[in-house]
Amino acid sequence: IRSPLNDFQSLTATELRHPSYQSDNQERLMDVEECAQLCNQLLDCRAFHYIPRNQGCQLLSWTQHSAQAQLQKNVLYDLYQKKDYVRDCIVNNGLNYRGTVAVTAGGITCQHWNHKFPADHKYIPDSRNGLEKNYCRNPDSDQQGPWCYTTNPEIRYQTCGIKTCQEATCFTCNGEDYQGSLDYTESGLECQRWDLQYPHKHPYKPNKYPDKNLDDNYCRNPDNSERPWCYTTNPLQEREFCSIPRCPSTRQQQPPPKHTTHNCFKGKGENYRGTANTTATGIPCQRWDAQTPHQHHFLPENYECKDLRENYCRNPDGSEAPWCFTSRLGMRVAFCFQIKRCTDDIKVEDCYYENGEQYRGSVSKTRKGIVCQHWSQKTPHKPQFTPTTYPWLEENFCRNPDGDKYGPWCYTTDPGTPFDYCALKPCRSGPKSSNLETSDPVLFEECGKREERRSRMLR
């Protein structure tokens, strides 16, 4: 059930260059888990490249912390490095720690393991015990974790004070931002990698949630639970919370006042702190500290930074807008769509008459503040109106070459926004509204038809 990939930390679209690396490095044909298994079996393998396109596996004897190694973006490669070499925290007593800390807890530089001075000792570095350079190690399973002989003749050895992955990073609020390297649950079960679908099938695929840092098999909180958790490698236990300490004074993690809104909401409304307390259709909200009529886990004390006061609409879980549990038994949750969205339109500095076909000003920003694309340029959007055919299309100034009734517009420099209306207002009244009319019969093609189901034919 346990994947050999669990021993690795991955970096997608990344290549690890090294002077001893040759691009024709032997490439073996196998799947990524076989490659991980092979690397695990070889003591001198510290990382591997996986080339998904041709299922290629390249074993590497260095990591990003090795001298002269360099990470490079390369869409063809995924890089997997053994956790023991790249994590800056330890598991248990750090017996397998292979990191590069070389200073003791007291700030003294470590003595090289292959030196016998100032401290003489019995250890002989080899690839099995991992004694390398002057890095902190734990060859004798010391309960205090990795240590080293020091370069101070007065102090023979000292612990390096490397924290366990459990203690190394605390979490604030409900741990949505936790990015630590803990990979087991509070009952000690190893976590399932987020990029695998076994033993538990789940929706949290890292490419679907690029903002949730779903790295490897580390504890995370992609669904805004009370604290970080993970799917486990035990088929009988789907998921479990991780035991991570809460950082002190989480109240400081409240959004700064300038980001909070009260009469409208921005984005998904996670910083809305107003007092709307009904759903969009007027149903009163249930208090967050109540468990009736709906039971829930959004207890105000577990979500301090989300301000779950009274029965106010809030968005503690990254939903599409502020919401609440409703006071109606048959309706568990509902959005508070009646709260207005804060306008993100920028300040307008010019105006146009009629529909702006005659506008010849030099405003070159859209209502959302995106810079306009030059009419003569072909990227990011291929224009259908160019200065060749419409000579009054100057530079990237807002114009209305197609008589759009909503005013001057432009192609935008944002690849995701083909065109948008400009930061302009009508000079007198609003845009001339068209008269509605009952039109003559129209012919529709290839639309609006469906299989009508005749009830008399039903059984």
């Binding site: 984005g267 995701g416 009952t438 529709f444």
Partner: protein
């Protein structure tokens, strides 16, 4: 949909968040374009990774084996003209049109739906106990003139909105139906005349429901399709 019945609306699209949960409706106006309500989205440029349109199913939680189900990722969102509350969403690939997935017609620009026209709303939203919450429900509503609507709504209804008559029993759109269609049968075809937007109360008897009037934005819709 309150006061509706399980029905067939092959242009009605279920918009799903990254957890696969339904959050709003939409209407398929072109094989790669859906029209919905701006309220359903956090911003005009919000990341859409993981968001999908589900088409071709009558069920709110269809099985993966549902024969007609098409799940298509959303790749682009274009916000409507100022004050429109409209949004267009581009699908990553064209939907396959068949007897479960079909396009709805767009009205002529500025077309005025005559009063008394029989129309229908469709959605997977709340039924408030009036029906089956797990399937697509459809309810019939009759259009009324804005002047008539404004008597009750005290002049609040604008030109770019349209109203339907309020039956004395609760019938209308509710939570989860927003963004979905008000489709009217005209010239032998179903035409998208309105978009469901939040009203203060679900299907309030005696109060006309307000929709976004699509005919005001048909040129814009066609321009988005043409320029994207």
């Amino acid at each position: 949909v309150v006061g509706g019945r399980p029905g067939n609306s092959p242009w009605t699209v279920s918009l799903r968040n990254r957890q696969g949960q339904h959050f709003c409706g939409g209407s398929l106006v072109k094989d790669q374009w859906v029209v919905s309500a701006l309220q359903c989205f956090s911003s005009c440029r919000g990341p859409l990774t993981g968001y999908e349109a589900w088409l071709g199913t009558l069920f709110k939680d269809p099985q993966p084996s549902d024969p007609g189900l098409q799940k298509i990722p959303l790749i682009q969102m274009v916000c409507g003209p100022p004050g429109s509350q409209l949004v267009m969403i581009k699908l990553e690939r064209p939907a396959v049109l068949n007897n479960r997935v079909a396009l709805i017609c767009l009205p002529p620009e500025n077309y005025l739906v005559p009063g008394q026209t029989q129309c229908e709303i469709a959605g997977w939203g709340e039924t408030n106990g009036t029906g089956n919450n797990t399937v697509l429900n459809v309810a019939q509503l009759r259009v009324i003139a804005n002047e008539e609507c404004n008597i009750k709504h005290r002049g609040k209804v604008k030109n770019n909105e349209l109203c339907t008559m309020s039956p004395m029993v609760p019938v209308g759109a509710c939570e989860g139906d927003h963004g979905g269609p008000l489709a009217c049968f005209t010239h032998d075809c179903w035409v998208l005349e309105g978009i469901i937007i939040p009203n203060r109360v679900c299907a309030r008897p005696g109060w006309p429901a307000i929709f976004l009037r699509v005919s005001m934005y048909v040129d814009w819709i066609n321009k988005v399709i043409k320029l994207s």
